[in-house]
Symmetry: C2
Subunit: 330 residues, 2 copies
DNA sequence: GTGAAAGCGCTAACAT
DNA sequence: ATGTTAGCGCTTTCAC
């Protein structure tokens, strides 16, 4: 049994294929109500489903967005991915997604595949990848960087959190609690969101005249990170920890439980990212963040602007603090 | 500047468009080495990128798989989604994904969009959705159900875990520890994976001559579930809990911490799903599960079989137990 | 208001 | 081994 095409519908409705298109797309030409009704009936009777591939080829618009994240299983990226999917669907688009596994080569591979698939736009979420831009210029597709600033040499706009001021905010909150030894738990990258948050911490500590030397930098391997944190908590014994990502903060909570350290009484912890997981840990984790739906929505709109050749500018989203038990509040 | 097409490449290489296709697809006709080299050079010089939309239209194969999950942010589905993406990419396909939000209507909407996008196959992950099949028959696309059995009236094969025997396995493990009052924490659906696991628990309890009455059924709202669990632990005080999903088990761990119940000394907990999160909780959560990569791989292969019109059969994946501190081991 | 027709960029059958 | 060509199913311009 052959698939039903637009021609079948036209034949059955006793009209031309063009009119079927006009009905389907509600334009660009008007259709008489009676004709429209006949077409709609034919569509229903035949169970016609427009071939979106053909439409995409003809119209050079696929209604598909590409999304590349480092690791869609990691809490923060998971939520960003979900939010992008929701924002896209609300706008009538579907999302083709890929995991770069923190590898520039893999990111490039996905970006190319996605571009060849003629996605309407590409959302690139980088993390902890040093170095050059993906050669997005050759891709000939609108690109927006999400979460991470666009790399040097890139023309693409970005939508990022106010990481530096957010870092200051969280550090100041801990300072406000009166904690003396405040450590910073962060990643190894020298630039990027996580590094910016750490810089904010440094600035706040310096401004308060406190020791800014207690920094633990750890990598992406979660098991190793835990071991690092354990050693750190045992040796340098900070009274409070600002983690530059919720994942690190949650690991700190777990290690604290392992060591029998009471949070927040013996160790206060604050995270960054505003993930759901933070609300569900024990004790609940204070965290700085921004609504993921807003975040994703801003990125998708920016992509739209790019398509319309409007000059898209970088966006920096304000970060607000959600205080919870872990920092010493309540 | 116009995009480079295959004709441009042919012109530059001084050959015909067909030959360019033969080079690109490595067939179906042979190409002389010298010609091939010229074509490849032209491709490189022009920065040609094949239009996969056109290819999909012509070849009726998109190299795109559709995936619909209830909630890609929930730990288990997150990992399943990631694994599907990986399995698909390994096979040369990308994944278009959608969140049904546990709604049959939304699932149907996505399934239709995805089918209209002419995905090569549809992977449907259902949970806690009662009732009818998506009208997949009209979709005219290979469908495989993942995680959940195919609904009644569906012809589609499914790839599921051995939920019933897995439920027995976990219950028996708890029984083996010598715990007396063993409760079961599960969902509200009367059928499906979670219900099957609970049934396995019941069978094991009955076989052991133990009380099978201590069951808490709770819904999808996480906040409400926590409150339910709290009341349950306080009133019926089971010595051990088998949760039919890791998410519920992790919530139990959190509530236990809140209540000051020591796990496993005062309350043993075991989960189901084999998620990563289970390995990172405190205490580490024992859980029954199956490799997500296998799980996703099986689903993707089944989809391939369906495309080749091989008779695809249901698959039931064995579940193994990973014991960790939470159940009393170690 | 409606229809005819020209492609979008590609694959592959059919020629040579 | 290579070239010619007929579509895949659709959108939209242009005629009527």
């Amino acid at each position: 049994m052959q698939r039903v095409t637009r021609d079948d519908v036209a034949r059955r409705a006793g009209t031309s294929p063009a009119v079927v298109s006009y009905v389907l797309n509600n334009g660009p030409r008007p259709v008489a109500p009676a004709t429209r009704a006949r077409v709609e009936q034919a569509i229903a009777e035949l169970g016609y489903r427009p071939n979106l591939v053909a439409r995409a080829l003809r119209s050079t618009r696929s209604n598909v967005l590409g999304l590349v994240v480092p690791d869609s299983s990691e809490g923060y990226f998971t939520q960003l991915t979900h939010a992008v999917e929701r924002a896209a669907f609300a706008r009538g688009s579907l999302v083709l997604m890929g995991n770069s596994a923190f590898s520039r080569e893999q990111e490039q591979r996905y970006a190319e595949s996605l571009a060849n698939m003629r996605v309407d736009g590409l959302l690139l979420v980088r993390a902890e990848i040093a170095g050059a831009a993906a050669t997005e210029s050759a891709l000939d597709v609108p690109v927006v960087y999400l979460h991470h600033q666009a790399p040097a040499g890139s023309e693409a706009p970005s939508v990022v959190l106010a990481n530096n001021s957010g870092g200051r905010l969280t550090a100041e909150h801990l300072l406000g609690h009166g904690y003396d030894e405040i450590g910073c738990l962060t990643g190894t990258a020298r630039s990027g969101p996580v590094a910016d948050r750490a810089r904010g911490w440094t600035e706040a500590m310096r401004a308060a005249g406190k020791d800014e030397g207690n920094v633990l930098r750890t990598g992406l391997d979660r098991h190793a990170a835990r071991a690092d944190i354990r050693r750190w908590l045992q040796s340098s014994r900070p009274r409070a920890v600002m983690a530059t990502a919720d994942g690190l903060a949650l690991d700190t909570l777990t290690v604290a439980a392992e060591l029998g350290l009471r949070v927040p009484d013996e160790l206060a912890v604050i995270g960054f990212g505003g993930t759901e997981a933070a609300a569900h840990s024990w004790p609940p984790l204070a965290t700085a963040g921004h609504s993921f739906d807003d975040f994703a929505g801003a990125a998708v709109s920016t992509l739209d602007q790019l398509r319309e050749n409007s000059p898209a500018t970088d966006q920096i989203l304000d970060v607000t603090l959600t205080t919870r038990a872990s920092c010493g509040c309540r």
